[in-house]
Amino acid sequence: MVMDNLQSLRYSLPELTLFVAALIVVLVDISLKSQRRFLNPLLTLLSLILAGYFSLRGGAADAGLFQGMLATDSFAQFFRLLLILAGFLVVVGSLDSDELSTVHTGEFFVLLLVVTAGMILMTNSTNLAMLYLSLELVSLTSYIMVGYLRTDRLSNEAALKYILFGAVSTGAMLYGFSLLYGMTGTLNLYAIRDTFMSQGVSSFNQYTLLLVVLLIMAGFGFKTAAVPFHFWCPDVYAGAPTPVTAFLSVAPKAAGFGILVRFFFSGMSQATGTQWNIMHGLNWPVILVGISVLTMTLGNIAALTQNNLKRMLAYSSIAHAGYIMMGAVVLTEVGLRSMLVYLFVYLFMNLGAFLVVTVIYNSDKTFEIDDYAGLLRRSPFLAVAMSIFLLSLIGIPPFSGFLGKLYVFGAVIDRGIIWLAVVGSLNAAVAAYYYMKVMKAMILDEGDNSLPPLKISPINLSLLVALLLPNILLVVFWNSIDRWVTASVKLFNNSL
């Protein structure tokens, strides 16, 4: 069912809330000069909670909104909640960060609200024009957030690198869209699929189709930081303020995977029961398999030699993009479920690791792994917390990262692609080395004995606990997570 504009409004309440809240925060920021330091984050957090409430209460209708521009379904519902949660945690994490406390942060909260709404629109887009517009909305706001420290050379160069790389990638994607429009005569994903099905893929030029898929992957690969579109990632992660880095490493990546799934599953394959079939002659999973293997291998190998923790986590986030992509290539509901589980658990472990980086930068002004020596003596809690986040990133069983790996490898084996699971687990073993290296520095190395114990502010302490709990306890609530993601893999399928 496709709804008209007025009917659609009530299904878009979360996004509307975020956009209106962004405007309110702008007004408060320029008019209430004395209370704004306190009001800006409070309003931002409240509006995120309100948006989360609306998306929970709205339920998951299965429909096309705004004349087929957007879709609302349980898949969209999942990403709404995930992205709003990510935005909420990042706002709390940015409250006490030395990097952001030197500048005025009113616009930061506005940008964060806008980018969250943009990411939700991006994962729901079912029209190429809407897809491009929302992807650019997310990109443009992230460029500004990366370059937020105007007087800092590192931040500025990172943002410049990000925008030049991003503009070329999305430009290539746009060229791919224009070719796809030329071939099918429509911008709607479902109409594109129907054209391919009714005319037969073989009636189109095979090389042009391949070129189109490659060009479009440039845009999606840029958002998810997949090889070979990952070059911006380490530099941008290293240069951006740490809360922004934490945000970039989870939220736009999740949104990128959301739109990747929506585009390829809805627009370029046929849904049949619990799986999707590729159309003969349009074998895009082959390209994704290649990108996935390259991404995790290159990400992990490059991470081995990093001394800067932010850079190391950047390469590790590239590697994780490779694991998540394994869930897309199998084209089954099991695979889709594994992606959602992975994105969900990845949110807590990666935000946690970056929060520890923020806390340590607040007191020591360093990102070097060597300077983490002796952390166990200076702050046992922080060292243990970081170890749990890292073990979770490796995928060691009691922690939630294990769930993600289990689902992804399970989905690949389920489909009989054993070699891909082997490559994935070899990669996970390589990854264990560089995560353990950080743990060794924190726990075994002596470090400078004259350094005083490390102080953690109450805000950061409570956020750390809030991020630790899911990492430890999600395994206990395995059943509910499984039920939630199983209900979330129903893509809106506008069949004729």
Binding site: L133, K161, L164, Y181, L187
Partner: protein, 101 residues
């Protein structure tokens, strides 16, 4: 007689020139010009396809959307280039190399 193929050739040439410009130029402003070429090559495609092949106006509307987004993108990019100039007194991208060290 100008056919669809002529438009597609022009847009492919513009796209290639844009990529070439982005890869070879050292001046940040020149790189931005290359990016504009890439976006406009897609616009030519969209409008040409809309005119010759398709019964709807989708492509032309999309082209307008792209023009608006391109303007916003250039605004952000130029702001960043200006900040770079304030910090370094140059817009040469080769000298913006602090992240490589």
């Amino acid at each position: 007689m100008i056919t669809l193929q002529h438009y597609l050739l022009v847009s492919a040439a513009l796209f290639s020139l844009g990529i070439f410009g982005v890869l070879t130029r050292k001046n940040a402003v020149n790189v931005l010009m290359g990016i504009e070429l890439i976006l406009n090559s897609a616009n030519i495609n969209l409008v040409a396809f809309s005119h010759y092949n398709s019964a709807n106006m989708d492509g032309q509307i999309f082209a307008i959307v792209v023009i608006v987004v391109a303007a916003a993108e250039v605004a952000v990019a130029l702001a960043l280039v200006l900040t770079l100039y304030r910090l370094l007194k140059t817009v040469n991208l080769d000298q913006a190399d602090i992240l490589k060290r």
